[in-house]
């Protein structure tokens, strides 16, 4: 973000204060009003992005990005025309799109202007909601389709490769290269419907707006708040349903409030976490454990790789595993509470929860197992990404304690050993916090710690490593594990009694009904 301080405006509007800051070099590339995909990069000249901060009469700060995409006919070669349009005052003859995004980049409303009048209401969906980004190999991507009185326009991003310069970043490099080839991606869709947003500024804005309807006059752009939150019927693209979301109300009192940039713990993003199978067999496990975890700030951060992009997928199932099974080698009965399965170097993961655990154990233990298995999936994701980066020749540091090469070496270690070591060494505090957030801090910290310790000293089956290596790994895990016990003043005896009560719980088990 490169603020244009010299052109920043501060003024009073709607009994509040507005700071309007144009952003430099932040044009958004949209492919609109053309059927020639190769012209996509030229469209950046037709856009203008402004950062708006508004302090209302109650002292509440709200922020948006305002994006203008002018019609080529409106600009007509005079790109300075865009500068006649600000949030405070727009060109009475403006033709193009106006879109608002909140500070997290979420679409917050938009309108189509023609000759100064609002003619259509825009809604936007990202491609992830309709099955992920779509690569368009053809050089001339389809642009606009009509459906149900609306037009659906793909938002197309373009990636270039050029002979001798695989990753050109500027148009000049592309222009000067011998041969360049674009690849187009549909990253989202804009739906334009007439009638939904009124036919003029006044109609769309509702009472209280100081906008002047129609063309001409001294006018300003409507704000997302003034527009209310109008729902729009779902539409389809090429016969496939897409989830076109209207601006989502965030509070009952102010349906269009865009929250200031503070972490929002209640932001579950469902696209690629697949729970159909578990929901069918154990709906209460989904509703009381997974859904509740998804509303949890720390867990939400942990699981972010699976919620913020079209890939990878995280699937949840249940299956029968050893539970209170006699240990033929002697010792305590065998309990396997869950497992995470990955295929090859894919970063997709499938989590299976033990059916017997779901039937017999406490919700607290089940939630801890859900966190434990999620961490397996997340660690696998990070290790695979490290492997991808190394294979691609990219050396980067990540947020963990090691450089990429160290990670790649860890990647070659048996998963149970490396994962459990990391869970204790790096993730343990986050896991305990996630569990206590899930449980609304109803238990003691020590109870959350003891619950999360379950299974962490398990090095897994003896793999291809020699017996001596396996013994060494087991010992290393045990050392790390014992250090945690010592740190939290927990004894083995404490754990055995506590776990026994959680594994075969008499209270606080998952309900068998009432969660559908």
């Amino acid at each position: 973000m490169n603020p244009g301080w010299d052109n920043t405006l501060v003024y009073e509007k709607d009994k509040g204060t507005v700071i309007e800051m144009p952003l430099l070099n932040s044009a958004v590339a949209f492919l609109m009003n053309t059927t020639d995909g190769s012209k996509a990069s030229l469209q950046t000249n037709y856009t203008k992005t402004t950062y708006l901060i508004q302090k209302d009469s109650a002292g509440v700060f709200k922020g948006w990005f305002m994006v203008l995409i002018a019609d080529t006919a409106y600009v007509n070669g005079d790109f300075s025309k865009l500068n006649k349009n600000t949030y405070q005052q727009r060109d009475p003859a403006y033709s193009g799109r106006l879109m608002y995004f909140n500070i997290n980049g979420k679409f917050a409303g938009g309108w189509r202007y023609q000759n100064g009048a609002i003619t259509k209401t825009l809604t936007l969906t990202n491609a992830a909601a309709s099955g992920g980004q779509q690569q368009i190999n053809a050089a001339r991507p389809k642009t606009t389709m009509s459906t149900g009185g609306c037009t659906v326009t793909p938002i197309v991003s373009v990636s270039w490769i050029c002979a001798g310069n695989p990753t050109p970043t500027t148009a000049s490099i592309r222009t000067n290269s011998v041969s360049c080839e674009p690849t187009y991606y549909v990253t989202g869709y804009i739906l334009e419907c007439s009638g939904g947003g009124g036919s003029s500024d006044g109609g769309a804005g509702g009472g209280g707006s100081n906008n002047t309807p129609g063309a001409g006059g001294n006018t300003s752009f409507p704000s997302p708040i003034e527009q209310g939150c109008k729902s729009v019927a779902p539409a389809s693209v090429d016969g496939k349903q897409v989830n076109l979301q209207p601006p989502v109300p965030t509070t009952p009192d102010d349906p269009c409030l865009v929250k200031p940039p503070v972490p929002d713990p209640v932001a579950p993003k469902p696209p690629k976490i697949i729970m159909d199978s578990l929901l069918k067999n154990f709906p209460c496990a989904v509703r009381l454990i997974l859904d509740k975890l998804a509303q949890n700030g720390v867990y939400g951060d942990l699981v972010k790789p699976f919620t913020t992009t079209g890939m990878p997928d995280l699937s949840w199932n249940n299956s029968q595993m050893p539970f209170n099974q006699i240990n033929t080698s002697g010792g305590n009965p065998i309990y396997q509470l869950g497992e995470t399965t990955v295929i090859g170097q894919s970063y997709n993961a499938t989590i299976n929860l033990n059916t017997s655990m779901l039937q017999n154990s406490s919700q607290l233990l089940i939630a801890s197992v859900a966190i434990h298995e999620t961490l397996h999936a997340v660690i696998n994701y990070n290790l695979q990404m490290a492997g991808y980066n190394k294979a691609d020749g990219n050396v980067t540091l990540n947020s963990w304690l090691f450089g990429i090469d160290s990670w790649y070496e860890i990647k070659g270690l048996p998963s149970n050993f490396s994962n459990h070591y990391l869970m204790m060494d790096y993730y343990f505090d986050q896991a305990v916090t996630a569990l206590s957030q899930w449980g609304n801090n109803a238990h003691t910290t020590k109870e959350y710690q003891m619950t999360m310790l379950y299974g962490l000293n398990n090095p897994g089956e003896n793999d291809s490593s020699t017996s001596a290596q396996f013994v060494a790994k087991t010992q290393r895990l045990k050392t790390e594990y014992n250090e945690l016990l010592k740190k939290f003043s927990i004894t083995e005896a404490d754990l055995n009694v506590y776990w026994k009560s959680q594994l075969n719980s008499t209270t606080n088990k998952l309900p068998s009904s009432g969660c559908n």
Binding site: G132, Q133, Q134, Q135, N137, A138, A139, S159, I161, C162, A163, P166, T167, S179, E181, T183, Y185, T309, G310, M311, P312, Q336, G338, E339, T340, T341, V342, I343, G344, Q345, S346, H376, N380, Y388, A391, D392, G393, G412, S415, N416, N419, G455, N458, G460
Partner: protein, 143 residues
């Protein structure tokens, strides 16, 4: 009808697999596969393309790895290069059946150290060459 076409395509692949003779890798090898999905309707494609920027994943819709999973290849969108028609004309491509057989018979963690696979994708006037990495089919269960 499309479903029937997919079944037939799968049957052809599986039948050919059983008849073909696999080449076990003994040295560093480079193979080229000509991938042209653009001309095939999405629902009829045997190879699915998924994009998670900057990665592109190619999944062959054939559960023919020993774990029963589909072969998946990955490339990085930023590491592609262009090749011209004259160079492409000299390349000897392997068939899809041979490609599947290659990865099926040599599904080890060291596959990509032993074999370099390039996909060549046609565009309007040029061809895009990308090194793809076989992701393997070994199933790992972590408790």
């Amino acid at each position: 009808m499309k479903f029937l076409v997919k079944i037939i395509l799968n049957l052809i692949v599986i039948t050919n697999l059983s008849n073909s003779v696999a080449q076990t890798i003994s040295k560093k090898d480079t193979v080229y596969y000509f991938i042209d999905t653009a001309k095939i309707p999405v629902l009829d494609r045997l190879i699915r393309v998924d994009i998670a920027d900057p990665h592109i994943f190619y999944t062959i819709n054939c559960p023919c790895l020993s774990s029963g999973s589909n072969p998946v290849f990955r490339t990085n969108i930023n590491n592609r290069t262009l090749v011209n028609k004259s160079k492409v004309a000299k390349i000897k491509f392997i068939s899809l059946v041979k490609l599947i057989e290659l990865v099926r018979k040599n599904d080890t963690p060291y596959f990509n150290d032993a074999v370099t696979i390039f996909f060549i994708e046609p565009r309007e006037k040029v061809f895009i060459q990308e090194r793809v990495f076989f992701l393997g089919g070994k199933q790992t269960k972590i408790e």
